[in-house]
């Protein structure tokens, strides 16, 4: 009889899916919202239990779905890293729902609200599945599910603009998943397995014999480019600003904070558990990641600097932040990958914080989104103001906040790889300056009183004021102050993959 916490991954996934299915049966959106919040909170709780159980003993286990043992059956695998990620996904999903609930009911037609929460739950389910799965084909399936769910929560606020951007988003996502699928299929044809450990031994055998290096490179490339498209890495990121900028606040928060990261988590898991990092290094995929990452950092920052619509600006900045992640992955050093994961976690908190606060602030001038029109809004809603300021500071990289820790570890790991040190360093510096240039004027604008503007009284959103904003801000500070212990945890988790 295996201990209870072995079931937690499966339970949390199934919990979300079931919740998603029952949503349409619920009386109205308010109830559905509560259910969704409850589910995501539950997921966070379960993952916390899982963490408590496995992190101290540093355990990594696989969990068999159904009754077929490997190599036929379908497995989940979990370790400290997956547990942490799952916890963050659950928590942030919960907070986004809590903080964004107002705008959800403002933006979305009553008829569609229940569906919206269905999609949210499905999204969480697919994210968790992508994190936990031990079977690459299952991975593909959940990628597709997440695609549909993500597009759905974008289109939920159904205006022509969002529909249009959704179609663009959908098209590119489909291209991405197509590439991913063909990669999976090729891998299966080469190795004859779908479970990561079994594939791994085949791959290692092939590599040792030196056969099939070209097909392996092709496979790695296909998987990478599939994920790159879906997580809006530089050349493929065109769809992101429209989609994230147009969606309702909660959706943007979740999309920028979580969805983009889910794919990357899965990619890293594949690279570690299927190819092993050394093979990937030999296949030169990391160099491409590195280059694309740097390009993304610069491009995203510049675009964000030129953007005036505040939410699109945040979306552009997400592109830059994804660039940080891929740079970390591309550095060829374990600390770099760890730093990338830290960035994933920090950004998972900071970006929702920024989106939620921006949403609140724009409510002050009845949902006006252009930066210049937000002057003085922070005085009307000082919690959102402080939250936004904190997030912006973290993005700029002020010590004591998460952003600084990430930057520190990225540079430190870059110093271990002299070949990539200077490009990484210079790009980091440029993008840091750019960050300051578009975040700080924003902060100043929201804090300067303006006489001409006519703010309308905002009804207080208790969920946001008392739960979402404080917790997200606290998390930002937490990452700033405990970087060392976290990075060690992550490294231990990576070692187990």
């Amino acid at each position: 009889m295996l201990p209870f916490y072995y079931n937690i991954p499966a339970i949390s996934i199934l919990l979300c899916m079931i919740a998603g299915m029952i949503m349409p049966l619920l009386p109205n959106g308010k109830v559905a919202l509560r259910v969704a919040m409850g589910v995501s909170a539950g997921v966070a709780l379960l993952s916390a239990i899982l963490m408590i159980n496995i992190i101290p003993v540093n355990e990594y286990f696989t969990y068999m779905m159904g009754h077929f043992p490997a190599p036929w059956g379908n497995e989940l695998s979990a370790g400290p890293l997956e547990a942490m990620i799952a916890f963050i996904f659950g928590l942030v999903m919960f907070l986004s729902l809590v903080g964004g609930s107002h705008t959800i009911f403002y933006d979305i037609l009553p008829g569609k609200q229940k569906m919206y929460f269905t999609m949210m739950s499905m999204l969480l389910a697919s994210l968790l599945a992508m994190t936990y799965t031990n079977d690459i084909f299952t991975g593909y399936v959940f990628i597709e599910i997440s695609t549909i769910a993500a597009c759905a929560i974008v289109v939920a606020r159904d205006t022509p603009k969002t529909i249009g951007s959704t179609i663009r988003y959908l098209t590119l996502s489909l291209l991405g998943s197509g590439l991913f699928l063909i990669g999976v299929v090729l891998l299966y044809c080469i190795t004859g397995h779908l479970l990561m450990p079994n594939i791994q031994e085949q791959v290692l055998r092939l590599v040792s014999t030196g056969l099939y290096t070209v097909p392996l490179t092709v496979v790695a490339g296909l998987l990478f480019s599939g994920v790159a498209i879906k997580s809006a890495l530089f050349p493929f990121g065109g769809w992101l600003p429209m989609a994230h900028g147009g969606a309702t606040t909660a959706s943007s928060a979740v999309l920028s904070g979580l969805v983009l990261k889910g794919y990357i988590v899965m990619l890293v898991k594949i690279f570690y558990r299927v190819f092993t990092i050394d093979v990937i290094r030999d296949l030169n995929v990391t160099n491409i990641m590195f280059a694309c990452g740097l390009a993304g950092m610069i491009y995203g920052s510049i675009e964000a600097f030129r953007e005036e619509h505040i939410k699109r600006m945040l979306a552009h900045s997400s592109m830059a932040q994804i660039g940080y992640v891929f740079m970390g992955l591309g550095l060829d050093v374990n600390l770099g990958v760890a730093a990338a994961f830290l960035q994933i976690m920090v950004h998972a908190f900071v970006k929702p914080l920024l989106f939620l606060c921006a949403g609140r602030l724009s409510e002050v001038y009845d949902h006006e989104k252009s930066s210049y029109r937000l002057r003085g809004s922070a005085h009307k809603d000082w919690i959102a103001g402080i939250g936004f300021t904190l997030g912006a500071m973290s993005m700029v990289g002020i010590p004591l906040l998460g952003g600084f820790t990430v930057k520190y570890y990225l540079v430190t790991s870059a110093m271990m790889n002299p070949a990539k040190l200077w490009p990484a360093l210079i790009t980091l510096m440029i993008s840091a300056v750019m960050n300051a240039l578009y975040y700080i004027p924003e902060v100043i604008a929201i804090w300067t009183r303006c006489e001409l503007c006519t703010p309308n009284p905002v009804d207080s959103n208790r969920g946001f004021d008392w739960i979402a904003a404080p917790i997200l801000s606290a998390a930002t500070l937490f990452f700033g102050l405990n970087g060392y212990s976290l990075i060690q945890l992550i490294q231990r988790g990576l070692a187990l993959l």
Partner: protein, 510 residues
């Protein structure tokens, strides 16, 4: 002195600032009493720390294995903190009158107090990352002050200020990491925090990184490539230009550079390296460049800003000598230039505030209308020119002799630059004084003070009355004159007591 006093000194003004947002601060008298109270209290704490520095370091958070947020009070901190803590109350006093006609006082004084706390934070920072933290915060807290007017000009100046500072900060950030990785711990130690066994083989790399971050922190000190923001920033209200852009912020930049050279990388690593050559050349160039630009500028405050640029590079030049004498000379000029330049700016501000004259060429004959202002301005100008025994001479003296004792070609170039800039200083300062005191016939000044009969004029009562008239004249206001008089007195006293000042500086630093 327990070491949590440091936090007390840093936090007091911040708390005070948070009170500024409250509506009950609308009332002017109450607000001014409150602000003055906070500022004086903070200065008292600071002086307590300077006089009886706490022995052990105050470690707050451990960010990573190498980075710690820590505070301590060492010689350099005491020096810098003393300057700041003694000038801040004066500026506050001055600002009360000045800001009265600028408006937006609540916001202004709020950030003014915040800046005080943060500058103290820079002064008492015990580790590289702490200093970096407060450095960034300093930029953010002074930005609203630069953009105070919120018109296009101010916003443009603010943006430039932001770009320059952030670029500088990100260059400095590199050093934060390299020092922490190549060093044993990132706490400041006189002589360098680097770990000897890590240095071997990486000298060139470290020197290169040092050069980068020296220019990075030099941005705040208006070192040549990064000087562009300072003249623009003179759109800010005068108390800001005077205190922040002549003393607090820019001296913080220099403070950081000193930390970098003497407490971070250590002079042993840098002495005689290409890093020293590069930085020193930049400083030398800036000295000449600043003076020339100052001479060519007609806008009063901008002229002073350029003069600040050149004078700051005196200090940086002396810092890059990388000898103990150089460090001491730098400290000396830090003190003296602070007092002199703040006096000059107050003079300029008084003219600007009371007559709205912005350009030197408009000032002809103003001296007869604002006697005290122009008297103190002249005194400060002489001090800046380096007329013995005024303070400017002594600091220039120690810089020059320190450079001569180093004796490298660039050091001699530096002396030449000092001399050139002495000449130019005389020209651009005396230009103002001449305008003030000797209006040409073409541009005769307005009505002078009322003439009296000889008997009246001989009588001592007249002298008193004249003095009183000057003290609270129609053009000059009480607080401004008070500050100006205090500062002039300080300049004179310091000039004659130079021996003691140098002794104190030496005692602080070594």
């Amino acid at each position: 002195m327990p070491n949590f006093m440091i936090l007390l000194a840093i936090l007091t003004p911040l708390i005070g600032a948070s009170a500024m947002t409250q509506p009950f601060m609308q009332d002017r008298d109450r607000r001014e009493r409150f602000i003055m109270g906070i500022v004086v209290l903070t200065s008292l704490f600071t002086f307590a720390l300077i006089i009886k520095p706490p022995t052990e370091m105050l470690k707050l958070f451990r960010l990573t294995e190498h980075l710690t947020i820590a505070f301590h009070v060492d010689g350099l901190s005491r020096l810098f903190a003393a300057i700041v803590a003694s000038l801040w109350p004066l500026t506050t006093l001055y600002a009360f009158d000045y800001m009265h006609h600028e408006g937006g006082e609540q916001r202004f004084f709020g950030f003014f107090l915040v800046a005080y706390g943060i500058v103290l934070g820079v002064a008492f920072a015990g580790s590289m990352v702490t200093m970096y933290l407060f450095f960034e915060l300093l930029t953010l807290s002074t930005l609203p002050l630069v953009m105070h007017h919120m018109d296009a000009k101010a916003r443009y100046a603010g943006l430039r200020y932001l770009i320059y500072s952030m670029t500088g900060a990100s260059l400095g950030f590199v050093s934060v990491i390299f020092l922490s990785v190549y060093g044993s711990a990132d706490f400041f130690v006189l002589g360098g925090m680097l770990d000897a066994k890590h240095i071997i083989g990486n000298e060139a790399l470290l020197q290169g990184v040092f050069t980068l971050s020296f220019f990075g922190f030099g941005v705040k000190a208006a070192l040549f490539p990064g000087h562009g923001w300072l003249p623009l920033a003179s759109v800010a209200p005068t108390p800001v230009t005077a205190l922040l852009h002549a003393v607090a912020v820019v001296k913080a930049g220099i403070f950081a550079c000193i930390r970098l050279v003497y407490y971070g990388y250590g002079t042993d690593l840098l002495q005689g390296s290409f890093a020293q050559t590069l930085t020193m050349m930049a400083a030398v160039f800036t000295i000449a460049f600043g003076s020339i630009m100052a001479l060519r500028t007609d806008h009063f405050k901008r002229r002073l800003a350029y003069s600040t640029i050149s004078n700051l590079s005196y200090i940086l030049f002396s810092v890059t000598l990388m000898t103990d004498r150089g460090l001491q000379a730098a400290g000396l000029h830090m003190i003296y230039h602070a007092i002199i330049k703040i006096t000059l700016f107050f003079g300029a501000g008084a003219v600007l505030a009371k007559t709205g004259k912005e350009y030197v060429s408009q000032l002809s004959g103003m001296a007869s209308k604002m006697p005290i202002t122009f008297a103190s301005f002249t005194l400060a100008s002489l001090a800046l020119m380096g007329i013995p025994p005024l303070p400017g001479f002594w600091s220039k003296w120690s810089i020059g002799s320190a450079a001569a004792s180093l004796g490298t070609p660039i050091a001699y170039m530096g002396i030449a630059a000092l001399m050139l800039s002495a000449l130019l200083t005389a020209l651009y300062q005396m230009g103002v004084v001449i305008q003030g005191y000797f209006p040409t016939d073409e541009q005769e000044a307005g009505p002078l003070t009322p003439r009296m009969s000889r008997k009246q004029r001989r009588s001592p009562r007249y002298v008193l009355r004249a003095a009183r008239a000057a003290y609270s004249g129609q053009f000059e206001s009480r607080n401004m004159n008070l500050t100006l008089l205090i500062l002039s007195a300080t300049i004179l006293i310091m000039g004659f007591a130079d021996g003691y000042v140098e002794q104190i500086v030496r005692q602080f630093l070594f």
